[in-house]
């Protein structure tokens, strides 16, 4: 094989890239090697402030602002509905399950929460005070739109 300048250049690029790659350790979510047991992260408590959190986008299922430890949601019973059901809100003072949850998939309104909306925690989740493992660059639409409009105006 003849060492042409083209070949030398290619080798040089690979060498530099390799060095840069080796210098920076690969970051993973795992703190130890895959074949070793890593220490479990600390379990934190549910946020239990009872303060309504604003939604990040209009369609977002509202997050649960209270502790739901041990709440039973299965075919036997639904602990959430013992406060959030229409008939229970008077006594509990809890917000009623949204009317959209009474609709079946054909858009017909039922007398009570539709079976497909029965499992609350499928969409609604309580929150814990933890550092996110992965960063998030989500931008609120209100933060995004003014920029857009100014750009259009320009």
């Amino acid at each position: 094989m003849k060492m042409t300048p083209k070949w030398l250049m290619a080798l040089a690029i690979i060498a530099i890239a390799g060095a840069a790659y080796a210098a920076e350790p690969i970051t993973t979510l795992r703190s130890t090697a895959p074949d070793q047991e890593s220490p479990a992260p600390r379990i934190s408590n549910f946020e239990d402030t009872d303060q309504k959190r604003p939604r990040n986008y209009p369609e977002q299922p509202p997050t649960i602002p209270h502790d739901i430890e041990g709440y039973q949601i299965d075919k036997n019973a639904n602990k959430c509905l013992s406060c959030h059901a229409r008939s229970r809100t008077g006594e509990s003072g809890a917000p009623m399950v949204s009317i959209t949850h009474f609709m079946d998939r054909d858009g017909q309104f039922l007398a009570a929460v539709s079976p497909r909306r029965y499992f609350c925690t499928q969409c609604h989740v309580s929150q814990r005070q933890v550092e996110p493992l992965v960063g998030n660059s989500f931008v609120d639409i209100d933060a995004l739109l003014p920029n857009n409009s100014t750009r259009i105006a320009e």
Binding site: D50, E69, G70, Q72, N76, A77, N78, S82, A85, A112
Partner: protein, 196 residues
Amino acid sequence: MFDLLKRYWKVLNSPSVHFSLAFLTLGGFVAGVIFWGGFNTALEATNTEKFCISCHEMRDNVFAELKSTIHYSNRSGVRATCPDCHVPHEWTDKIARKMQASKEVWGKIFGTIRTRDKFVEKRLELAQHEWARLKANNSLECRNCHSAESMDITRQSPRAVEAHEKFLFTGEKTCIDCHKGIAHHLPDMSGVPEWQ
């Protein structure tokens, strides 16, 4: 028959010939102590968690469910055992409950809830007995540990404060009215008031 009774009555009614008064008095006293002590020891033996979970009906169903709840596992390590909640602590009430429990012995012998399916089928009825009992005695077994006087609502979550101020302190509701299914799984609640 009547003659027989009359004969025994005569024996019991006539003074002792061979035994001294002191022997009979002290002997009666000692026998009484042994009987009473034995009775209470046996009673307490049946009032332990170990006794309850010696039957598979309790061990595999309700006790297994209790284990993941706060009444079994929590930060301070204080825990409730079966009789803490299910048997009254006062002696007379305890005896009354223990007499009722003879029905449970019957159930054990004839295998009323011998299998998981049988237990699940009967679960609502069994739960309703307990709810009715706690409702009737104003959740006494809850209050043996959780007294309203010692409840510092400033250390509770806002939601709990509101509910306790509105319903517990006014006496409008008792613990079990809201806190169902906290130590065991709930049965099929369809038809139970206030549940969906």
